[in-house]
């Protein structure tokens, strides 16, 4: 297998889990015609009861999935647009994610929420460009953001097999990525385990989702001046704190690049935890979208609010110098 695309990796993971477990089925909008390509070829393969087309009733069908899950099934719910996850935030955070506790362990809600278009697409404006993963992490809903095709395969597989609700954010910035893979590279990736994409000893850059590629580019660009370790948490909740601690034990310096808004975004939690619990040689820094970012339609306005490679390079050099 060579040059596997990110979307194809999601497609393969989903198909494999549906073959493996008849309880797995997909609900969502335009899934029959595979608008997002995730369900490509699946309607013919699995039929209308397992590739279930939904009307535009996101709150209703999100709870429909919860009810089906408590009755023994494993739904995968696809949403096309990030804000839809905010529309159903109550159904996921206050209902699906609370039934295990509220029932005293009598039930489980193994639903996977798949957003194969998370975050930014140039020029799509204010309502199609959010990256609300920090909200779910804040509420303790298991949340993964695979950056690469193999992680997309591995984390979607683990999300479907997990006995709790899991939200899978597939960043738009990663969808065009392809990866050279050998047979056997497509394996489940456990939730809560980070990944070092590039080893280094001067500074740890924590990069989330598609920003992993920006971090790798900056690490290459600065390699004559500074040795950057690129840490991809892959799962935002539960976060691989031990993995981060191990990296910081080596570098002692931290920069986080995160596509959230600044206030209460995931980068804030990473900085706070590192400051409280891990030995640092210099104050940790972060690059995020601005507070309360709302993207304008014009590309100049849009790009002005995105975390950039230049910002990352500047902060890395600053952190190294300040130590």
């Amino acid at each position: 297998m060579s040059k596997l695309s990110y979307t194809r990796a999601l497609n393969l993971a989903l198909g494999a889990e549906m073959d493996r477990d008849p309880a797995v089925f997909v609900i969502g909008e335009d899934v029959r015609h595979a608008l997002t390509n995730v369900t490509a070829g699946m309607f013919d393969r699995f039929g209308p009861e397992r590739i279930m087309e939904m009307p535009l009733s996101e709150q209703g069908f999100t709870n429909f999935a919860t009810g089906a899950a408590m009755a023994g099934l494993r739904p995968v719910v696809e949403y096309q647009i990030p804000f839809l996850l905010m529309l159903v935030f109550e159904q996921i955070a206050n209902q699906a994610n609370k039934f295990s506790l509220m029932s005293g362990g009598q039930t489980q809600v193994p639903v996977t929420y798949l957003l194969p278009s998370a975050g930014w697409r140039l020029g799509w404006g204010a309502q199609h460009s959010d990256e609300p993963y920090s909200l779910f992490a804040h509420y303790g809903v298991k949340t993964v953001v695979p950056a690469t095709p193999s992680d997309a395969f591995g984390l979607l597989t683990s999300a479907i097999r997990d006995d709790d609700p899991v939200v899978v954010f597939a960043p738009i910035g990663s969808l065009t990525m392809r990866e050279d893979l050998a047979p056997g590279d497509l394996v489940p990736v456990p939730l809560g385990s980070g990944r070092i994409h590039r080893e280094g000893h001067d500074v740890t850059v924590v990069a989330i989702g598609h920003l992993v590629y920006d971090a790798l580019a900056v690490a290459g660009q600065l390699e004559d001046q500074v040795s950057i370790e690129v840490f991809d948490p892959r799962t935002l909740y539960p976060f691989d704190w031990d993995g981060l601690a191990a990296s910081l034990a080596k570098t002692g310096r931290l920069v986080v690049i995160d596509d959230s808004n600044r206030t209460c975004g995931l980068a804030a939690e990473i900085l706070a935890t590192a400051a409280e619990e891990m030995p640092l040689l210099a104050p940790p820094r972060r690059i995020t979208r601005p507070d309360g970012a709302i993207l304008g339609f014009a590309p100049e306005l849009d790009l002005a609010l995105q975390p950039s490679r230049q910002q990352l390079a500047d902060l890395v050099l600053e952190v190294v110098k300040s130590a």
Binding site: S57, Q59, A71, N94, D164, E277
Partner: protein, 361 residues
Amino acid sequence: MTTEASHGTASQGTAGQERAGQQGACRGGGAPRPEDLYRMMRLIRRFEEHALGLVKSGEIISGIHSCIGQEAVAAGTGAALRRDDIMLANHRAHGQLLAKGSDPGRLLAELAGRTNGVARGRGGSFHPSDFTVGVFGSSGSVGHGAPLATGAAWALARAGGDRVAVSVFGDGAVNQGALLESFNLAALWQVPVVFICENNLYATTLPVGASVAGSITGRAEAFGIPAESVDGMDPELVYAAVARAVARARAGQGPTFLEFRTYRFHGHHTFETTTRLRYRDPAEVAAWQARDPLALQAGRVAGAVRDVIDADVESTLDAAVRFALAGLKPDPADACDYVYASGLRTRPGVAASPAERTVPR
């Protein structure tokens, strides 16, 4: 993860339940006898009265949403269901759980926050569930139980067999968008779900006339769902209507909507005993209390039979109270048990000091 079931009380239940708590509950095998419906209604009424006493004495910290006055809906519904049918209830659900077959002692223990409760004290009065009798939960998010029930019912149909799911909600829920979305989904796919609206005329303080444009049954009819409005103070009429709806669902004929016109004799929640909200005309309350469903059903049962049932219910509930109050209060150290079905443990609110963190190398 600690297992409180190992304390040995959670699954045992109350002595006497087989007589008073379960006979007449969840029969699903032909019309109940008048005395069976009476027995269940009496059990619910007296259960709620005991619960009110425990609210007053401080054993039930949350207060309760009493269903006194609405016993006929619960008893009639439970009698038309089988134990393996699924129910999604709401915040006023004690009666529905009892009629579905929950053990009174374990339910009362749940209300009192004890580990021998139906949900080990994690659901309480507001969110009780009892999977041993098919009650999947009581979502406090008004109206959102309907799509939960629709999804569960769809899963049951997919599995084959003739089990059904019922969603029980109040008149306030009929203005919730997700509930109407579930009507659409249920009708589109002819899902074996029965929507039961306990119209007690008030969503907390808001009268139904000031909140519902059109009609309650009209909402279901708009989706092509057969709908009936039935006197919810008569358990035999309730039973007959639910039995018809359940038969349709079991036969693959899809969803039914039932509006039961009823009334809660007490406030929305026991907090009203102190807030003294005045949103109901005392004459209206008195007129409905004069139609007490328990008195109606009592009139259909011979006095001598009734006396035996009443005594039996009292001894069942005495045992239930003893069982509940003998239950252990949860260990605070177990507060995060059951948050995740996978057993994931969350970080505490206070970080370990840097010296305590051990880094695996």
